[in-house]
């Protein structure tokens, strides 16, 4: 383990929806392999009986009252949109044409 090939970087970049150029892939693959090698040392700790910690605070089920409260107007919500139409976000097609 602790090694990351150029193909794997390309695959993960696709999963993360980042279209990398060939030059970027060449550069990032080497750096990421080095970083993955370093962070892999977390496996040097025998921790089978150690519970995982996801969060510093022991909080559970923090809720708020289920009440209507002020929120953004439609105009505010759309103000930063790359494109909008008829009071809605306008997005590129989501289906293939064939």
């Amino acid at each position: 383990m602790s090694s990351l090939s150029r193909d794997e970087v390309a695959h993960v970049a696709m999963l993360a929806r980042i279209q990398l150029s060939d030059e970027e892939l060449d550069k990032l693959a080497g750096q990421l392999d080095q970083i993955v090698g370093y962070v892999g040392q977390v496996n040097e700790i025998a921790a089978d009986d150690v519970p995982p910690m996801s969060h510093p605070l022991p909080l559970v089920n923090v809720t708020r009252p289920d009440e209507v409260r002020p929120s953004l107007t439609q105009e505010q919500a759309l103000a930063n949109a790359p494109a909008s139409d008829l009071g809605r976000f306008e997005v590129p097609r989501i289906l293939d044409e064939d």
Partner: protein, 503 residues
């Protein structure tokens, strides 16, 4: 009072309350300073002279009308660009958010406004707070006021440099692995990361939600306490906000007494391998604490040695998830892939994220996506979470023996711009002393503790306290600051070279 910009926030607040100064004068003095030096320092991404002066005028009017105002009313402040400010551009140092104008305020900004504090502008930072030098800002690096060829720390180098260059008496930072404390150390300023949950995260553009915490950047311990008290406290808009009063930080800063306090030195972060001048100042600070009546105890936190590795799995994992929202659909940049007619949403998304994110952001998103991906989850993210548990246990055991822990804040003084830019691992090592606090959620402060002999640049001392006992940072920091300044004869910033003013 002849020199507004060199005055502490506490003294400015007193002068404003006594009507010796107006907020317009104070705000204008800082705006003039920004105009004169920010071309060279580049601490600001956006300056809001008009808005700041309008707030200042309103506060002066209310004071003239005899209103009782909050302690820091009229004292201007700079805000890190990762914090949403309604009507003011907020980019988090990224091209993907260029031109984004938040339609709402972060809770901490709401509190600054309610306290009548003019907001001078938004400060530069590493893109999405990923970095230790501000060199990963899409808008160019910030320069360290002590030496313009050196880094001001990161990710909050804009906030630390603004305060160090007297462009603002106070600034807001955020700290995910050291982004308030390390910039403070390398610019000779003070910075606090409060207990996780101590300051609301509502309106912070999230990097790693279980690690992020906002806090004060200042030139004195008391100023940090005053700002901490103002922005801290429960917020129902943040489900991880602690529902308890803010610890008595201001009182502790003013008291500044360490007699009988047990101060722990962590074997694993005691300065081995750190720059000689940083180590020397650390040892002297320990001697000074002992002279002031503290008991110095050595404690071991063996799991800290795996802290950096665990952090660079947990942070990228959370970041890859948080940054998935930059999808070119509802706000932010949208670009189409080259040479594709009628591209799909997915193609637009992938092309936009390639064009809008910088190298470091891409590295971490890919690393995090990999660590969370099927087949690798247990070995990377899962194992890192267990290391996190062990680090929290190390802190718990240490705090049974001591009241606070101390370390050098950063392994070196400010390094040269460009020196580590293409070596991500070397850059990551800057955070080795500050990261454990974020993993465990405990509070930490960095205060200036001298200049390294070999380069004449500032070094910092980090103080760590148990969760929710933030007042101890200020109690120890206040005592040490007073004793150090008595030795130096003046605050450390008086030794900083004068910046050339251009007009």
């Amino acid at each position: 009072m002849t020199d507004i910009i060199h005055t502490s926030a506490a003294d400015l607040a007193d002068a404003l309350a006594a009507k010796q100064l107006s907020s317009v004068e104070v705000t204008q003095a800082h705006l003039d300073r920004i105009a004169a030096v920010d071309g060279a320092v580049h601490a600001f991404l956006h300056v809001d002279a008009e808005g700041a002066l309008a707030t200042a005028r309103a506060i002066d009017d209310r004071r003239a009308a005899g209103e009782t105002l909050p302690a820091l009313a009229g004292v201007p402040i700079a805000v890190k660009d990762v914090v949403a400010t309604q009507g003011l551009p907020t980019t988090a140092g990224s091209k993907i958010l260029q031109g984004w104008i938040p339609p709402y305020d972060a809770t901490l900004v709401t509190r600054l406004k309610a306290a009548g504090m003019p907001i001078l502008g938004k400060t530069n930072m590493d893109e999405f707070a990923m970095g230790s030098s501000t060199e990963h800002s899409a808008y160019g690096p910030t320069h360290n006021p002590w030496d313009l060829e050196r880094i001001p720390g990161g990710s909050g180098g804009g906030s630390s440099a603004a305060v160090a260059a007297f462009e603002a008496p106070l600034a807001i930072g955020t700290d995910t692995g050291g982004s308030i404390r390390q910039p403070a150390a390398v610019t000779g300023t003070v910075g606090t990361k409060p207990t996780y949950g101590g300051v609301s995260r509502f309106g912070l553009i999230a990097l790693a939600s279980s690690l992020d915490q906002a806090g004060p950047c200042t030139r004195s311990v008391l100023d940090a306490a005053l700002l901490h008290e103002l922005i801290g406290g429960h917020d129902p808009m943040d489900s991880t906000s602690i529902d308890a009063p803010v610890p008595p930080v201001v009182e502790a800063a003013r008291r500044g007494d360490v007699k009988g306090l047990r101060v722990g030195v962590i074997t694993e972060v005691s300065g081995k391998g750190f720059q000689a001048g940083v180590r020397a100042r650390f040892t002297e600070s320990l001697d000074l604490l002992a002279e002031l009546g503290a008991e110095i105890v050595e404690v071991s936190c063996p799991s800290f040695e795996k802290g950096l590795a665990a952090y660079y799995l947990i942070l990228p994992s959370e970041a890859s998830s948080n940054l998935a929202k930059f999808d070119a659909m509802r706000y932010g940049l949208r670009v189409g892939p080259e040479g594709v007619v009628a591209p799909s949403a997915e193609q637009v998304m992938a092309a936009t994220r390639d064009a809008g994110f910088g190298d470091e952001v891409k590295r971490r998103i890919i690393l995090g996506t990999y660590a969370l991906s099927s087949g690798y989850y247990d070995a990377y993210y899962g194992q890192a979470q267990k290391v996190r548990t062990l680090i929290a246990r190390d802190f718990a055991a240490a705090f049974e023996q001591v009241d606070v822990l101390v370390t050098p804040t950063a392994p070196t003084t400010a390094f040269k711009l460009g020196e580590k830019l293409d070596d991500p691992m070397a850059m990551y090592l800057n955070d080795v002393a500050t990261i454990p606090a974020n993993l465990a959620g405990v509070p930490g402060i960095s205060i200036p503790n001298g200049l390294a002999d070999e380069d004449g640049l500032p070094s910092g001392l980090q103080i760590l306290a148990p969760a929710t006992r933030d007042e101890r940072l200020y109690q120890v920091g206040g005592a040490l600051e007073r004793a150090l300044e008595a030795q130096w004869g003046a605050p450390l910033w008086t030794k900083a070279p004068r910046l050339e003013e251009s007009r």
